[in-house]
Symmetry: D2
Subunit: 335 residues, 4 copies
């Protein structure tokens, strides 16, 4: 069998130049996505303008051309070389008008927004009000976006949290203590669930669920009776009371020494793992092709092995549930 020959993509939209920005919280793999946009564009003979500081920079006109060589040695870096920021101005029609003007002045035929549903909302308004084609790329560690199996940054966040759980287990087992560990996930338990299964946790609390604390106290008590040395309980940050609330309740209910650890922002940073770099590479490529195909107002995502398009508004209107089979699996394996 012979090597696949990458051929030029058709360009019915006649796009010559695209812009790309990162918005919202940073996520590992954003640089890999920017790189994929820049290099796919270069392969296809298009130019790319990088917008610094998200929509905040866009309405101030912080655009500049970036080429393939500018992306050397970035695929392995956390954060975003384009920077990111919140923008109150973008919520005003004037702010968006200013951004649209900058794009037009620079001959930009379409904007690629790497971020979460809040950022896609900002992109959608730009498209609606000014007719500028926009494409969303899911970049957020929480994995809480409808329209893609996984979001860029999610795999790395899980790995970082898991590494912390492995470390805490060493200490928990040595002291025969209970550790209640808070991972990210304001509205969704995806990270918590993965970390719980992979970390061999006794219990997991997620925002999607209303587990009675009494049951958990009983489980921890049973776990001690079974001779387990140290217990791990994972709590998503969006659970009411957070890890501190759960930890206090367990300590009060069991009388056992309980420690709380809130992993926090470390889950956002670091070298992206392979899965995030590969996902980012595929989606960055797909975003450029969507614009060339004349598509707008959608987020590119991956389902199974396929690239799919989802209307931007569905990303904030629809909800992606956690994996219920995995949830059940987690509970059995803590037996």
């Amino acid at each position: 069998m012979t090597e696949p020959t990458p051929t030029r993509h058709p360009n019915p939209a006649g796009i010559q130049r695209v812009a790309v920005l990162t918005s919202g919280g940073d996520a590992p793999g954003m640089n890999a996505a920017i790189r994929a946009v820049v290099r796919t564009a270069a392969f296809e003979g298009l130019e790319v303008m990088g917008v610094r500081r998200g929509f905040s920079g866009l309405h101030r006109g912080e655009l500049r051309l970036i080429g393939p060589r500018d992306m050397a040695n970035t695929i392995q870096r956390g954060g975003t070389i384009l920077l990111t920021a919140r923008s109150a101005t973008w919520r005003t029609p004037e702010g968006r008008a200013s951004g649209a003007q900058h794009l037009r002045d620079n001959g930009v035929g379409g904007l690629i927004v790497i971020g979460g549903d809040g950022s896609f909302h900002g992109a959608k308004l730009l498209e609606q009000e000014h007719g500028i084609p926009v494409i969303g790329v899911p970049g957020t560690i929480d994995n809480d976006l409808y329209g893609t199996d996984h979001t860029i940054g999610y795999f790395t966040a899980v790995e970082t949290a898991l590494d912390a759980v492995d470390k805490l287990r060493d200490t928990g087992a040595s002291h025969e203590r209970i550790f209640v560990i808070e991972v990210m996930g304001r509205h969704a338990g995806h990270i918590a669930l993965d970390v719980a299964v992979a970390g061999g946790a006794e219990e997991v609390f997620i925002p999607e669920d209303d587990k009675p604390i009494e049951d958990v106290i009983q489980i921890v008590k049973d776990s001690v009776k079974k001779g387990k040395m140290g217990s791990i309980v994972i709590v998503a940050e969006g659970v009411p009371g957070g890890a501190q609330g759960v930890g206090d309740a367990i300590q009060a209910g069991t009388g056992l020494e309980t420690r709380v650890s809130i992993l926090g922002h470390i889950q956002r940073g670091g070298t992206p793992v392979s899965s995030d770099r590969i996902l980012a590479s595929r989606l960055g490529e797909a975003a450029v092709y969507a614009l060339m195909d004349g598509v707008s107002g959608v987020m590119v995502g991956r389902r199974g092995g396929d690239i799919i398009h989802t209307p931007l508004h569905e990303t904030w209107e629809k909800r992606k549930d956690v994996n219920r089979d995995l949830y059940r699996c987690a509970m059995k394996l803590s037996v």
Copy 2:
């Protein structure tokens, strides 16, 4: 919404005790799979016997009961606590008869084999000749098994290889050298392809492909002209000549300083990453349920988010192709 209640699985096969072994090359996540077998069984009220040293230990009768507590602090460990070995004796009818006798003597109602297609072949013979139900669980870093998107150990191997590529890139860029890096994959380019995309490689050679070395020499030359500092070329071990052959050809063809690095066995070991632990947890659970359901002679696998069964013989008769879209993507992004 409320928490899913894990309920007892029906047991039409009336199985009371299962055995589990690991066979072939070790892979990170095998312990997580053993743990999932043991704990799922415990949850369902079944007993588990661990067989040491694969089929070699089975025909010698190295079986012992293992319980949920024996699996404490194993989910994060590389290698296999049950050990693994090659067995010439198993290739004889007498060896398999002896193994079958040990299983019957211990009241084992089904055998779970964690390994690759060679190991599944040995399992299939046991089933055919002695009527013992067998289930395969795909545990091999190469990801070259038909019937599952991914095999246990694959994700960790990719991550280990990628970490090495990141390190070599530091040196390659500092010396403006070409690095030709050999990753595992005797018959398949899955690892090579993932590492190439995630590692930002200029080129990748896989066994599935017959890329002319002249083209690669040209690509490296072009890459230097474009001002790239240092180039990375990934070669799967199954490519004729291996990395050394490719490296020699590139050095001869370009006149540029070329270094060869063969990553070797480090790709087999280490703490499994979350994706391998989760996959192993799901498949270990599924293997127990398959036996309880009276199923035999299949490998459990995961496609998309679903657990699927594939007849064992298909795992060595059918071929899983590499991801062609990813391949094309790799070539564009090295522009």
Copy 3:
């Protein structure tokens, strides 16, 4: 030159059996120290009893023989396989008498205590009241023990904290934010200082120092003026108000977005780095030899490349200052 031949150590004290325990907070490398005690003893023809759960287990008689094979595959593990616990009973003469009796009943000629100065205090009382030879081995992540350049666990804790700082810097730089990061060190700034220099921090707060917050606010303001993207401030936990206090003051004083991250217990766990394993190996060996030489009531430590002995009481009476040259260096390099 020929290989050094390890010869038998003289044993004027005529010791046949030693006991070893870990006490206080666990530290990475404790297992390597236990292993070194067990294997040095085996090399010299002595037996070793492991005491579980520190002094708490000692007064309850939780002793058992451990041999060289029991220590296989432990050198790389965090935590302590002998477990650790606090013991109120040990603070009573009765508790210690009970512990002494258990040691005598088991024919133990000397006790090796791996822990911090609190643990050494408990050991000293055992020696004074019951004449049992005791040797301390410095095992604590804080590095706050007089009589040794470094303590076992310190190097790993610094590495773990540094890895977190590297991750937070990705996010801090992407958002152009200030990150105030709290590292361990209740009474000492060793970890904070190393992390500050190695992490390229703008500022560092340690318990040994009374830096006015106004100066720091000015430094952060200057740093922003100089065009730095994101600032890192390191705070040792023993600083009044902790990272939260410092962070609030900086946010109030500069008006800049400031995030606080408290790294917490993750700094205790994890695979020990090479420096901790090597230090633990040397000190475990030295502890056995001290007992064989008839020495008691001292802590073994390393200064430069030499093994030294320090009377146990000096470990809590004398103070090890932080490295002032390094402190000055830190402040210059943040220019």
Copy 4:
């Protein structure tokens, strides 16, 4: 106690501008050393010119000013941002004369060379022939330089090699195999010895030693008899025959399955560990101060906690022995 106030260093040499280059093999922490030179100089009001591609770039005049902001986000990066190269031209008087002229034309009052003894030789010739003050900074992973306890990059190389050994041990133990692992060290066994102790190896071969292979074969046989699952043997690359030779001999002599793994270039790269960043920070600072003090022709090093100066010629004339106590320790602990 109050914070130490960093005060300006006197500048009797009246130096206004220094140059810095990296030479020879790259080593993790070189960037931290460059950063320390640049920031110390900035703190003292001096300018710094960075020379690209070592002496090769110097004789071609590849110099440019670098300021403190250019060093942002470099302390954690492997490799060298100034690049490094071998230079045949520098071995000619004409090449050195050209380099000296470029330094004078740019008003450079002193040159800091980060590298090994070969690089220091090149620096010494520049000083002798052209009267330009030079200071050496020990940057090489091998740790084979007289005049400093450790060299920049050494700690990271040991950590990388140790991580590989931990991974191989997983596989070795699972298959009950012997692993012979080659680490870097062409003339010195420092890395090998540290890795052997920290990795719990059964045996270690270093260039400083002429251990008979028969003894090792006996040790491996004994080790198997004692019930050890898997053995690790560490070989420094400078040992005649290398790991392959040792592995072949062991396999032939014991009849046991033996695998050889040559770790190679991965030991050069990667994020530097804290010890390398701190050492680099101290030595970069010390190099600037040496030039300001009017010192030349020495290497700055660290012994114990002190900065020391060693005449450059001693770095290649004198030999640093490996730690013999550690060597003896290694052999006992493999009991």
